[in-house]
Amino acid sequence: MIKLFLKITSYLILLLLALEGLVRFFHLAKDTPQRFIDHAKVEKWVPNQTGISVTGIRRQNSAKYRINTNGFNSYREFDPSKETFELALVGDSFIQGFHQDYDNSIGKKIENVTSDINVFEYGYAGYDFADQIHLIHAYKNDFDLIDAIVIYIDFNTDLKRGTYQVIEDRVALQSPLNNILKKCKLLVYIKSIGLLDPPKKIVANVINCLKSTTKVSVKDQQTKKVVDYSEVYMENFKKLIHQYGFEKQKSWLLLNSNTTPKVFLDYLHSHHFKVIDFYQEFKNATKPTFLIYDQHWNNYGRSLIAKQISESIDH
């Protein structure tokens, strides 16, 4: 029996080491750059990091990223000047572009189809409108030199806050233990494919069973009102605009009118906000515009977005 346990243990250790090697060799697990919060209370990536971001089982989608000296994923540095025409793209993971090679990003595509333009991509996964408008405000000196600003906004997810506060949760994830665990690529991979979910679920169920739970009666649940968040989100938008200001002359909101309530679209129109609506462009697309296993825009989708931005800005 002891021989069996010793053999199983030694096999297991060797097996894990071999698997770690294979996962690294085939680069199945994603690299995760370090985050930080800078002096202006903007959360971003620690500058000068490179790596490969991977999604899906068996590396279905992989992309090289390069964090520039400004802390954003881009092939170029952000050095705005009065001499050249500069466009800032501000947004969440769709603009950040960890699902595409950094040198084939939306910004690069815009530069390819528009002459004499430099595009700065201020994209960061998880940014909402509060983050975005705070960023523009925090880097006012730079943005004063930038000639055009395009902010990607998803009404249903980006307007849940009416005031900006630093979200510490994501940065707090970078505990020394987490950083060490992230270095184990096998662990990162099996976590990403959901292999750890069943044991985690078992632990959670055990904890839930041990905890005494307060029962909510069916009647209570039925009497809960369905809240229409549209009004709340609208108020949040107004509040943020009021607090930080908004340069309507040189700013555009990039959105999909099909997923945006009409009342908000009407508000934007009546208050002279400039909008780039990519709904029709995507609707008329001849090929799929989203990655299947990633749910971000694919190369074709990004090309359509780049084309539309290029045609919309006053350059």
């Binding site: 029996m1 021989k3 096999y11 071999a18 698997l19 089982i57 068996r58 279905q60 959901g194 292999l195």
Partner: protein, 430 residues
């Protein structure tokens, strides 16, 4: 569970050693009740529905008030046959009845093979349970290896290709012949990986307890004719039918017509055993038709004691053609096994043979299809390599090569594990 315990009590009472002569007719009651329970849970609604449909076809409308809303107990067909084999063996004095209730209950409810086999004969399993067993290092390691191999077949083969099979069979009306052929071929591998994977895990788990179960699969897709296929596929069920149905009916020792009738009965009952649906009965009928030419040509025992390329490294061209032909015929029959109805199976078959239009098939979740083609080819290549011993899938002398194979197997497990797939074993439903 209550059904299972009812069986334990029913059969245990019948087989007490001090069974009096007057109690012998209890055997008949046991048989009636055992088969009756199976019939009630599994076939009652099927026969009622079939009658109603028959009357409706003849122009008489009948209400469906006779059908019952019953849940089929998991694995009922398996433990019904296992308990039946015990009672039949005792009745025919092939084995002595056990007087140990715990031993008998363990035999009926032995957890590794309870819900999907292998269907064990009492003569093999009961003595092993009754005997004192000590820890056996070799058996344990063999068991663990079989469990690993079974997990590979289940997770990396069956579950990995299941979404493709589901997609093709669900949307078969929109796919061309090439895709439908792909769906049928992949289902062949899905059901093989799923069922033989379970059997390997069951046999391996039993080995950890020092118990040897019978082999259930011996590389069936390397068979050179249908007869060999049935000597390699679901062996425990084939043997059960052979011993308790085919031979009592007269086997092949009587006139050819009687033998052919017996073969037909076995295949049709085997089809019905799988499920209460005409698709399974048709599947059994197809195998009868496929078996007849081999039987009449007296080639049904030609390969019973050999494996392909027994003395060579590669199969001969003639053997290869036979293997591909047999696989192709079996694959066609699986369409009826997999399709939810005869109409759909026939329509699937019709499209597969008429709608010739090549289109590259895309995985429903967007994954690379080439990964699956390579996987299946590697799997078949490895099955061929280990074809001589199904109980030792990692029989390499060099520990380094053995370790490399373990590593690759586990690597494939994590490569093809898909958390979107949550499936129980296909044969649990039977």
């Amino acid at each position: 569970m209550p059904v299972l315990w009812l069986r334990v009590l029913l059969h245990n009472k019948f087989t007490r050693p001090a069974l009096k002569e007057s109690e012998k007719n209890y055997f008949g009651q046991v048989l009636f009740l055992t088969i009756g329970i199976l019939f009630f849970f599994k076939y009652y609604n099927f026969f009622i529905d079939s009658w109603i449909n028959l009357f409706q076809f003849a122009g008489y409308g009948l209400k469906k008030s006779w059908t019952l809303n019953v849940i089929l107990p998991v694995g009922i067909s398996f433990y019904t046959f296992q308990t039946l084999s015990y009672s039949l063996d005792v009745y025919y004095k092939k084995i002595a009845p056990t007087d140990n209730f715990v031993t008998f209950a363990t035999y009926v409810a032995f957890f590794p093979q309870l819900v999907a086999g292998p269907i064990e004969k009492a003569s093999n399993l009961l003595p092993q349970i009754a005997n004192i067993r000590n820890f056996d290092y070799t058996k344990c390691t063999e068991g663990l290896k079989l469990i690993l191999w079974g997990m590979f077949k289940k997770v990396a083969i069956a579950d990995a290709i299941a979404p493709i099979v589901d997609d093709i069979f669900l949307h078969y009306a929109t796919y061309p012949a090439t895709t439908l052929l792909l769906g049928a071929v992949f289902f062949s591998f899905q059901i093989y990986g799923d069922f033989s994977g379970y059997s390997d895990i069951a046999i391996g788990t039993a080995k950890l307890f020092g118990i040897e179960l019978v082999s259930n699969f011996k590389f069936p897709y390397l068979s050179r004719n249908i007869s060999e296929f049935w000597q390699r596929w679901h062996i425990s069920l084939s043997n059960w039918f052979k011993e308790y149905l085919y031979i009592p009916l007269g086997g092949s020792k009587k006139r050819t017509f009687i033998s052919a009738r017996n073969i037909s009965i076995v295949f049709l009952v085997s089809g019905l055993w799988h499920g209460a649906n005409w698709t399974f009965i048709t599947w059994g009928a197809i195998h009868t038709l496929l078996y007849f030419p081999v039987f009449f040509a007296k080639k049904n025992r030609k390969y019973s004691k050999s494996v392909v390329a027994e003395t060579s490294k590669l199969p001969s061209a003639s053997d290869l053609i036979k293997i591909i032909t047999t696989f192709f015929l079996v694959t066609l029959s699986w369409i009826f096994f997999r399709a939810p109805s005869i109409t759909i199976a026939l329509d699937y078959f019709r499209r597969m043979t008429t709608y010739f239009n090549y289109e590259t098939y895309q995985h429903p979740n967007g994954y690379r299809m080439i990964d699956y083609y390579i996987l299946i080819l590697l799997f078949m290549g490895y099955e061929f390599y280990i074809r001589k011993n199904e109980r030792q899938p990692f029989n390499f002398k060099s520990p380094i090569i053995r370790f490399l194979v373990y590593t690759l197997i586990v690597f494939f497990l994590i490569l093809f594990y898909d958390d979107q797939v949550d499936r129980s074993f296909i044969y649990f439903q039977f």
